[in-house]
Amino acid sequence: MWLLCAKILILFMKTLEDLIAECEELAFDLNFTRAKNWKEEKEGRVLVGYMPIYFPREIIHAAGAMPVGIFGGGDNKQIIKGDAYYQSYICHIPRSIMEIALDKHMDHIDGFIFPSICDVIRNLSGIFKQQKIGKFVKYMDFPQNFLPEIGGIFYQQEMGHVLKYIKELNGKEVTVEDLNHSIDLYNKNRQMIEFIYDIRQDYPWRLSIEEVYCIVRAGTVIPVEEHNAILEQVCEHIKEDIGTPQDKIKVVVSGAFCEQPALGLIRAIEEAGCYVVDDDYQLGSRMILGDIDTTTDNPLATIALAYIKQSQFSSSIYDVYNPKEYRLAKIVEDREADGVIFAAASFCDPSLLDAPIFQNAFDKMGIRYIAFVFSENINQYKVIKEQVGTFSDSIKLWEDDLVAV
């Protein structure tokens, strides 16, 4: 049966190049066209935009709505109006989100969720309220208390508010079955994304990090069922021995979890001599480690518990008893990476304030790293490329253990 399914899949499979091209177009479509079309296909459908880093998209899906990731305008949007809202010393993403909103690219999105990441995104939720953008604006306060009976309950209540907002728009009462089904779909989604990363750990030449990025980001702006179909095909393709190995070191990129680097910068890091075997670019899509239980009678409690017990570390969470420097070091070890590239958006408080914590710890642990800052709209990468290239060369040429490829 499994073989039959696989053969059917292969029969209808698109080429990897076509899939990547499709994903790139979807990922950077500032009009969110696929989401808009999805909404128009059936009356009563609702679109819910969410900002980085993480939001449990399962609950939006279960409520008959579609989550739409809003990750800024990158280098594809000229900022004019947005600059009137944010001072020069504030990161770039809020101004590009304002620009997209004020240019009416998001008029078809019904509500907006601002997860608790930092003061800037939190206050942006207030500006959306003040400007009356969307039918609802929700600042999602993720718990910093990690006891299921305290923080877990609060988190469930927060999710309940989101469901209430959606119900006011589409009248849908969410059932346990709806939620468990949605959890299952997103479990599969994460499994396949992790499969891609696992393959890349051993064979990073089969798919570049730039291509992985497009594939993962596309999943934030299309229905999860469609994304899963794309991922299934990508996974099949990369099981094959494709691509040509190159003499590059392996690195983990950390710190770019909110404002996203331009695609050119993501590409430049690999071109400069580093296979990126793990990263936090689209951390939200990989936030929960492993599956969430799909068999309980209280799926909201299950989602809350997964957040509390199974989350990836994040600069916006202070898990006192689980220090992040050791967790990042573990990723470096597990991925057999040669070093870490800290890439923080300019003026990104969470990322930049974490930098000394990581770097001081890594100095003691002997993990090699470099650090640079970027802005989503920069498209000149020469300096960063040289910096990354030097880092790569220093490891390749002067380290005792040469990287075998």
Binding site: Y89, D119, R122, K138, Q144, L147, I153
Partner: protein, 428 residues
Amino acid sequence: MSKEAQKEKSMILQKEMVSSLFNDLAHAKELGKKVCYTFIPGNLSELIQTFDMLPVYPEINALQSAMRKKSSAYIKEAERHAHSEDVCTYVKCDVGMMMKGNIGPTGQKIPEPDVLLLSYTGCFTFLKWFETLKREYPNAKVIMVHTPYQENGEITSEMTEYMVKQFKEVVIPEMEKVTGIKFDESKLKRHLTLAAEAEDWITKIFDSTKHKPSPIDAYFAGVYYIGPINIGFRGTQKAVDYYKELYKEIQERIDKGLGPITPEGEMKEEKYRLVVEGPPNWTHFREFWKIFYDMGAVIVASSYTKVGGVYDLGWRHDPERPLEALAEYCMNCYTNMNIPQRIDLLKKCIVDYDADGYVTNSIKSCNSFSAGQLGMMREIEDSLEVPVGFIESDLVDPRYFSYSNIKNRLESYFQMLEQRKKMEAVPV
């Protein structure tokens, strides 16, 4: 050259209170007291007192360092240790001070923390700050209190219950463990009663700016007035006595029709009444203030003086609901209010205190305040048709205080205010 500042009895009283706190801190071990580092917004002074701990406020150390011209060296020290130029300078100043021996404003060493009480309210950087300090003080106990944000402009029962559960099941048991002192609710209630009394007095004090001329400057002098209530004395008789004395002095000024006291004596003429949004610059505090009082501008209300608690809308610590009161206090601090709430509060200040203008001092390294200020300013200008001004500086990094830029901007702004006053005086 600045003249010697005038000293009133309340100022001397405050100086004594602060000195005694730092003296106690320097001798914390001999006194057998545990040391609790915490932050001004959402400070749980009454709970700290209930457990006989001594508070340390890292922001206060940072701003004191700036006023003593030491912050520059501290910031550079932190930047040498991988701290970015782009982030909160309070953090870097505090980290640098720690690296250089942790000597406080009185010249005495500030002891290491037994507790890092992270009742983080309205500022994510607090979280990162204590993450950093925890690495430096591995023996300190981190006690986290998550304060939900007033995202919908209200404090719901869910939010309060969430905080009360944290107090009951995490904060209080942890404090009992660290101090070895059993929680005494009646003691907490006594402190809360005194807190409410101090809150009544400080509300009257800041409300005195309704008088013309205003007897006080609610920003530049206001930052001194909020000292005792914010740095660990709220909930004590000392704070009540201080505010009673201060109110008496202000009342005398009102009776005599006097304006505010500045570092160079009494302000003679009140030409402009302003509301200011944002914290002040501390590295050039006096020069900054002087630009205003030289132009006859008095600040009749400011958002910064509400950062450690918003009392002017009537909220008080209620000793009959002790833990709920602590929760509501934390959630009710200015930076924990959403942007529309902040706008409403500032508009109320402009109207209630009959302000001629609204000025934003945008602080480079404080996103909690700064992100959204431009939108707020536009909304205030549009709805009240009040002239708005905008300047930029920083908290404690002298590299970001440009005296001539700020002066030029403010002079232009005051010219605009003057012109507007003249136009308003012309009969239509």
